[in-house]
């Protein structure tokens, strides 16, 4: 059997027929443009011996097997990536209400609203309650819980009260919020802030709060 190799798959066609039992003695193949065999047959046009055909067959089989493996590997990777993406999107949406909440959410609400009702009105009560009750423990969540535990109290009272938390993270976070709040408005809540600051045990942090208190008092 002889093939003039019109296209890249001519060799494959030949091999298929060869597999079906066409093993006549004149198995010679011209593979001018054989896509599969060119790596093992140099020079393009060559007469193909049976042993070379065996090698080509093995080569093709290997490539097919490898191709299938790649296909399954790629499918597995694609499925994993899709799964992670879906999972990640869920987590991201979850996070977007918490740690990625508008920067300094407490500061924002403190400045703009002043009460927990204002917070509900702005961000929606379910969202805020979800942040408070979802069991996670970022600074924002902890501070919101602090606020939530003192419903309908002035936001300034709440922020000033949060300074007295025993959690050093809330103390530092509260300081970061306090330093950007209206000092004059804070002055009217000086008593609470002073009593909160007195509860801070870490001397270095206490010192910073004292300096902030002195700044407010001097107004």
């Amino acid at each position: 059997m002889k093939t003039d190799a019109p296209g890249p798959f001519s060799c494959e066609i030949y091999l298929k027929s060869w597999q079906l039992g066409y093993r006549s003695g004149d198995t010679k193949l011209h593979i001018d443009n054989c896509f599969f065999c060119q790596p093992i047959v140099h020079g393009g046009t060559e007469e193909f011996s049976l042993s070379a055909a065996d090698q080509a067959k093995k080569n093709i089989a290997d490539r097919k097997r490898l191709g299938r493996r790649r296909f399954f590997a790629r499918s597995a990777v694609a499925a994993t990536v899709l799964g992670i993406a879906i999972f990640g999107a869920g987590r991201f949406l979850d996070k977007s209400t918490e740690s990625a909440a508008p920067g300094g959410i407490v500061a924002e609400i403190a400045v703009d609203f002043g009460t927990l009702d204002g917070l509900y009105a702005s961000y929606g009560r379910p969202r805020i309650e979800s942040i408070i009750s979802n069991g996670k423990t970022t600074q924002v969540t902890r501070t919101l819980r602090w606020i939530h535990a003192r419903k309908h109290t002035s936001m300034y009272d709440l922020i000033c009260g949060a300074a007295g938390s025993s959690d050093i993270e809330i103390q530092v976070f509260t300081y970061s919020v306090l330093h950007m709040m209206d000092r004059q408005a804070l002055k009217s809540h000086l008593g609470l802030l002073q009593s909160s600051v007195r509860q801070i045990r870490n001397q270095e942090i206490r010192h910073e709060f004292d300096a902030l208190l002195a700044e407010i008092e001097s107004l």
């Binding site: 996070k95 740690s99 970022t138 976070f173 970061s176 919020v177 942090i205 910073e208 300096a211």
Partner: protein
């Protein structure tokens, strides 16, 4: 969950580095808008799953809040610090 480790009190103008562990490919960090003037430089080592967030401490008496998130797997976190007077 991404964990952050860093100082709570720093000197104004000093270089501050916060290390983050359990970091994935989607890691990103931002300075809270309350921390105006803080520009972060973030380096990530995906082999060790760690990241370093560096910035220059702003004016004395201010506070800095850094938020980090990993949009793929780990939960976000935040770190705050005070710039010493």
């Amino acid at each position: 969950m991404i964990k952050l480790n860093g100082p709570r009190l720093v000197e104004a103008g000093s270089a501050v580095c916060i290390t983050a562990t359990n970091v994935g490919a989607g890691f990103s960090a931002i300075a809270d808008p309350a921390s105006a003037g803080v520009h972060l430089k973030v380096t990530i080592d995906l082999k060790k799953h760690t990241a370093t967030i560096c910035f220059v401490a702003p004016a004395a008496g201010t506070g800095v809040i850094i938020h980090v998130t990993d949009s793929v797997v780990a939960k976000g976190s935040s770190h705050s610090l005070i710039v010493r007077r």
